[in-house]
Amino acid sequence: MSIINITNLHKTYSSGESEVKALRGLSLSVNKGDMIAIMGPSGSGKSTLLNIIGCIDRSTNGDYFLYDRLINTFNDREMAELRNEKFGFVVQDFALVERYNVYKNVMIPLTYSKKPIKSKKDKIEEILSKLKILEKKKAMAMNLSMGQRQRVAIARAIVNDPDIILADEPTGALDSDTGEEVMNILKKLNEDGKTVIIVTHEPKVVSYCKQVVKIKDGKVSK
C-alpha cells in the first residue's frame, strides 16, 4: 500500500537574484513498511526531498500525497500536526537540546501531541528502556557519548509512535560500531512496522535497506 506519492516535484531556492533548482520534476512512491535508502552526490536534492516529505519544507511545484491527502494545500498548523503525528526525525547532528536532560528531550514531541497517551512518563521510560538508555534519563544531553545521543534522538523520533521515520545521515557522526548499532535499531523499527526513509551516501547503511533510490540533479536517476 502506497503511503507517499510524489509526482513531478520541483523545488527552487531563491537567494537574491540567483536561483538554485534543488528538485527538478522528481517522482517517488513509498509503500507502508518500506525501508528506503536515498542516495546521491552532494547537492543532488536528497535532504530537500526528505524535508518536503517530512513537511518541513514545501515544494515549488508538483504534487505530494501522504495517505492520499494532497499536502501542498496544507497550512502551517496542519504541517506541524503531521510532523508531530506521522513522522519521526533522526538527523546527523542528533538535534538534541543540549541544556535539556534526556527525559526532557524525548518529551518534546509529546508536548505537542494530541494522541491520547495514558502516562507520558511511562511511555518515555518504556522507549528509553527499549533503547537501553533508561539509566541516562536524567543526564544532560551535552554529557552523553555520540552513540547515546543518537539513541536519544531515535527515542524522541519514535516516542509519539509515528508511522514514518525520516533519517538524514543517521550514522554520519558515529564510528562504525555505533553506526551499526543505530542501523540495527532502525532495522528493528522497520521490522516492527515502521516505514523508514534514510538519506545516506554510505554503502554500509544501504545494505540494511530493502530499496535504494538514487537521485541526481534533482531527479530520481534509477
Partner: protein, 377 residues
C-alpha cells in the same frame, strides 16, 4: 530594570498631570465662582520681627486685633478665612490611624480647619446629615463649639455627639459634610485638601484671648476678594502703621500659573529622564529578545521538527516580554494602588511591550522552518 524605572517615572508623570489637572479644574471653579479676583498673602516678615510680635504681650495683641478687624470688617472688599495652622488633639478617640494627620509621629493629631462664614459661600460646602454653620456659630456663645465633621466620621460619631479635645474644649457635632468635599489653598502648593477626614470649626475671634499665635495664623490664612489692588496696598500700609507683618499678595490666577509652570518643568525633567531610560530599556529588551532568538535557534528548530509551530515560539517570546512588563506593572500598582494613574501606566506598558516585540516577531515570522534548521546545523 530599565523598563521598570521608565514605567515608574511614567506613572509619576501621569500622577502629576492628573493631579494638577484636577487641582486646576477645581481652582478654576472657585475663581470663576467669584465676581472678583481672590488674593492670598505670603508672609515676608523676618523671623526676628515675628518673634517680637508673638512675644509682644498685650500691645501686640491689640495691634494684631486692629489689623484683623481692618481686614475682616473692611467694606471695600470681601474676605474668607481658612486656617489649617492648628490640629485637633484627641488622645482618647477610637478613630483609626488613617484619620491622623501624621500617623507615624503624631497619632493623636487630626486635621483641623477653622473657617469663617464666607468660606462656606466660596467653597459651597454641603452636609449629608445635619446642618452647615449658621451666623450664630461664629460667635462665642460660651458653650460647646459647633463642629462639622468630614464624611468618613459617620462611622464614629452621631449628630449632637460631644467631642472633647486634649485642651479641654468641647465640640458639638452639628453636621457631616458631603463625600469628597474639599478646599484649596494655592499658597500651599497644588494639594487638594479633601475634607472627608477633617474636623471643621467656626472661627471665633472672641476666643483668641491673649494668644498672639491665633491672630498671626488667622491673618495669614485670610484671603482677600477684590479687583482693586489698592485694597491690598491699604492692608499693607495698615500693617506697616501697626508695625506688624510684611505681605506679598498674589492672585489665585497668578499663583495657579506659577504652579502650572513649576509642574511643567517637573514633568519636562522627569519626562526627559524617562525618555532616555525608556529608549535604552526598549533597545536593551529588543536586543535581549534578538539574542534570545539567536541563541535558542537550534532549540526552536528542534521544537518545530517535533510538531511545534512558529506561533508557539512567538507565544513564548510574548510571555517572556510581558512577564517583565507585568512585574513592572505590579510594582506600579503597589505604589499607586488601582487608580487612573495605574490604568494609564498599564496601557502605556502594553504599548511599550508591543513596540518591543514587533521586530523580533516579524523576524521570526519571516523565518522558514527549513532555514532555521539549516542555520542551526
Amino acid at each position: 530594570m530599565q523598563i521598570l524605572a521608565a514605567l515608574l517615572l511614567l506613572s509619576f508623570i501621569f500622577h502629576i498631570v492628573l493631579d494638577i489637572n484636577s487641582f486646576k479644574n477645581k481652582l478654576n471653579e472657585i475663581i470663576q465662582g467669584q465676581e472678583e479676583e481672590i488674593y492670598l498673602s505670603f508672609d515676608l516678615t523676618s523671623s526676628e520681627k515675628i518673634d517680637e510680635i508673638i512675644n509682644g504681650g498685650q500691645d501686640s495683641i491689640k495691634r494684631q486685633s486692629e489689623l484683623f478687624e481692618f481686614i475682616k470688617q473692611n467694606p471695600s472688599f470681601k474676605t474668607y478665612t481658612a486656617d489649617t495652622g492648628f490640629s485637633m488633639w484627641l488622645s482618647d478617640s477610637n478613630l483609626d490611624s488613617s484619620f491622623a494627620e501624621h500617623p507615624q509621629w503624631d497619632p493623636n493629631a487630626y486635621f483641623l480647619l477653622k473657617i469663617d462664614q464666607n468660606f462656606l459661600n466660596v467653597f459651597k460646602l454641603k452636609c449629608v446629615k445635619g446642618r452647615i454653620f449658621s451666623a450664630d456659630d461664629f460667635k462665642d456663645m460660651g458653650s460647646e463649639i459647633p463642629i462639622l465633621l468630614g464624611y468618613d466620621f459617620q462611622r464614629y460619631y452621631d449628630l449632637d455627639d460631644t467631642i472633647r479635645d486634649d485642651e479641654g474644649h468641647s465640640y458639638r457635632v452639628v453636621g457631616f459634610l458631603g463625600k469628597s468635599s474639599f478646599y484649596l489653598d494655592p499658597g500651599q502648593g497644588d494639594t487638594i485638601f479633601w475634607l472627608d477626614k477633617a474636623f471643621i470649626i467656626p472661627l471665633q475671634p472672641d476666643k483668641f484671648g491673649d494668644d498672639t499665635t491665633y491672630y498671626e495664623s488667622t491673618i495669614n490664612r485670610t484671603f482677600i476678594i477684590t479687583d482693586d489692588k489698592e485694597n491690598l496696598q491699604a492692608i499693607q500700609e495698615k500693617s506697616n502703621e501697626l508695625n506688624l507683618y510684611t505681605y506679598e499678595y498674589r492672585s489665585f490666577t497668578e499663583q495657579l500659573q506659577d504652579i502650572l509652570e513649576a509642574n511643567r518643568s517637573k514633568i519636562m525633567t522627569i519626562g526627559f529622564m524617562m525618555t532616555i531610560i525608556l529608549i535604552f530599556g526598549i533597545i536593551g529588551l529588543i536586543s535581549n529578545l534578538i539574542q534570545f532568538i539567536t541563541t535558542h535557534t537550534k532549540e526552536f528548530a528542534i521544537h518545530l521538527l517535533c510538531g511545534g509551530q512558529i506561533k508557539s515560539i512567538t507565544q513564548r517570546i510574548l510571555i517572556q516580554t510581558f512577564l517583565i512588563i507585568l512585574i513592572a506593572d505590579i510594582i506600579v500598582i503597589i505604589i499607586h494602588k488601582f487608580s487612573p494613574v495605574t490604568l494609564l501606566t498599564v496601557i502605556s506598558s502594553l504599548v511599550i511591550g508591543l513596540i518591543v516585540i514587533i521586530y523580533p516577531i516579524v523576524m521570526l515570522s519571516k523565518t522558514q522552518i527549513n532555514n532555521i534548521l539549516r542555520r542551526s546545523q
